[in-house]
């Protein structure tokens, strides 16, 4: 995967909220991985659903897209796709850099 930074422009009004938001997203990755090991599709679906609902609002449209895909894959118990999506999600979180404007 690429090592390039992904620049995301976020409203300055949300600056105080972003550190907590990003911390919660990193916890998501751990929770998603645990759920994959446990084949806990309900939790996978639920986390995907929440990511879909919250990502775009904060300015991270990619998180909303990944959340929607994780939710859809969890509905059909597609563990292979879910694992790939979690990798993509972790990669995105590792490379994203916020610029406030």
């Amino acid at each position: 995967m690429s090592q390039d930074k992904i620049i995301v422009h976020i409203d300055r009004d949300l600056e105080d909220l972003i550190p907590v938001f990003m911390e919660n997203r990193r916890k998501d990755v751990e929770n998603l991985k645990s759920a994959v090991i446990a084949s806990d599709y309900n939790t996978l679906k639920s986390i995907g659903h929440n990511l879909k609902g919250v990502g775009g609002g904060y300015g991270f449209a990619r998180i909303t897209d990944l959340g929607a895909d994780i939710e859809a894959a969890a509905k059909v118990n597609d563990i292979k796709t879910i694992t790939e999506l979690i990798d993509s999600y972790a990669d995105y979180l590792g490379r994203v850099e916020v610029v406030y404007q």
Partner: protein, 453 residues
């Protein structure tokens, strides 16, 4: 800054079990000037409502413990009119319909946009302006729909001129009210506005009613009568139901419009008149012209500026404000306390087909206000009142079309005009959905809330 100070009086309670959503929505609404309280569950929300007295609750639909739907029901046990906005990550029509019928004021789908949320909150709290008129034009006309705003914009543009206006539209849509608004916004406002229903006066009387007659002009003409053209001199003559005017009179009217003078029945003299003509009809005058029932030369002289009055079902956004207006009027006229429609009753009013237009709406509201024994008019009473209204039996196709159109309007209303969400709810792809909207002449933009400037 003034906006911030105004909304500070409006406390909004946001309920969601996701901290990130709570933080985000709180930040948006606080920045928009509202005071915000948060709750992490339905149970927590019930306790906070009692303690903080919010004006509005925004709740997630799916939460552990008490769901958003249960919270809505719990809130409405004490106050059935309390505004609640529901948020859901899944746009499922059964949820949206159930929430609407339980009295939810709006249903938003996550991910929600900041502007959509803030506009919806302002709309529910009635902080948005109901009309776009800001110069007093048509100030007595109650509306908030884009259709009426567009119509009134055209009417305002032609008001202060002498141009002849022709208003088409079904019976009961309020054509005379528009005619009067045009008159009152014109330089003729200090002169008479006279309305005459050409279809309600027998042919032999209509000529003397319009043009006047001399004493002894015909049997029973014991005094001189100046006629409505002369009575309206300097002002406006509104010729309603012009499509019902007999052909023999059409030629005489045409002559008056060409020569700007009238000759009363039995008179050898003509009198100059300075009258602006506004005409209206529920008939399709193009068809009448083709059928030889209406003179083509008169048609083009009258139809210089055509305006079309939309049917009530086409401007269903106006029904809540019209209902409020007529309930208030009824209360004042009958010296009674003003009543309100339950949210599901209002939803039913909005989605009804209203073949009798505003006139039918007034009848239904008066009937409901008379029969209702409590302060809140229920859905069952509205259904009874609407069933009691005589209506023509429609063909199966007409009924199916009306039902489909109502359904599409409901879905667009629920999604605030968001086509992708509406199509998803309706179980169609976007292309098919757009095709359906085209068939019913529906514009999704009309269901989006106006952003305040």
């Amino acid at each position: 800054m003034a906006e911030t100070q105004t909304y500070r009086n409006y406390r909004v309670l946001i309920v969601d079990d996701d901290n990130d959503v709570l933080s985000l929505l709180s930040a948006w609404l606080t920045q928009a000037g509202f005071e915000v309280v948060t709750a992490k569950s339905g149970e927590d929300a019930i306790a906070k409502i009692a303690g903080t007295n919010p004006k509005l609750v925004i709740t997630d639909l799916y939460m552990d413990g008490m769901s958003g739907m249960q919270l809505l029901s719990e809130i409405h046990k004490n106050n059935p009119l309390f505004p609640v906005i529901m948020l859901s990550g899944q746009a499922q029509i059964p949820d949206a319909i159930k929430a609407t019928h339980l009295g939810c004021s709006a249903f938003l789908t996550k991910p929600v946009e900041r502007d959509d949320l803030v506009n919806q909150v302002k709309h529910v709290l009635r902080l948005t302006r109901d009309t776009e008129s800001d110069d007093g034009f048509a100030k007595n006309i109650v509306y908030r729909s884009k259709q009426m705003a567009d119509l009134l914009e055209s009417a305002r543009a032609v008001a202060d001129s002498n141009v002849t206006v022709y208003i088409s539209g079904a019976t009961g849509t309020g054509k005379e009210i528009i005619a009067k608004a045009i008159h009152e916004a014109s330089s003729r406002r200090d002169h008479p506005f006279i309305a005459v229903n050409c279809g309600a006066i027998p042919e032999q009387l209509l000529e003397s009613e319009l043009f006047g007659h001399e004493k002894g002009a015909f049997t029973g003409a014991n005094t001189r009568h100046e006629g409505l053209f002369q009575a309206a001199n300097g002002g406006t003559l509104f010729l309603d139901e012009i499509g019902d005017m007999p052909l023999s009179l059409q030629v005489k009217l045409l002559r008056v419009l060409q020569d700007l003078e009238v000759r009363p029945v039995g008179s050898v003299k003509t009198f100059p008149v300075n009258v602006r003509i506004i005409s209206a009809t529920h008939k399709d005058l193009d068809k009448a012209v083709k059928a030889g029932e209406f003179r083509v030369d008169l048609f083009y002289r009258l139809k210089v500026v055509p305006l079309h009055m939309p049917a009530l079902a086409e401007r269903c956004d106006d029904i809540p404000v019209l209902a409020e207006h007529f309930l208030e009027k009824y209360a004042k006229q009958n010296n009674k306390k003003k009543k309100h429609f339950a949210p599901d009753a209002m939803d039913y009013l909005i989605s009804s087909s209203w073949p009798g237009n505003i006139r039918q709406l007034i009848n239904v509201i008066d009937l409901c206000a008379t029969l209702c024994k409590t302060n809140t008019i229920s859905l069952s009473l509205v259904k009874t009142a609407l069933q009691d209204e005589p209506r023509e039996i429609q063909t199966l196709k007409q009924t199916k079309d009306a039902c489909e159109k109502n359904y599409l309007m409901s879905v667009l209303r629920i999604t605030s005009g968001h086509v992708a969400n509406a199509a998803h709810i309706a179980g169609r792809n976007r292309t098919e959905f757009y095709k359906l909207l085209g068939q019913h002449n529906l514009d999704p933009a009309q269901f989006r809330f106006k952003k305040e400037s």
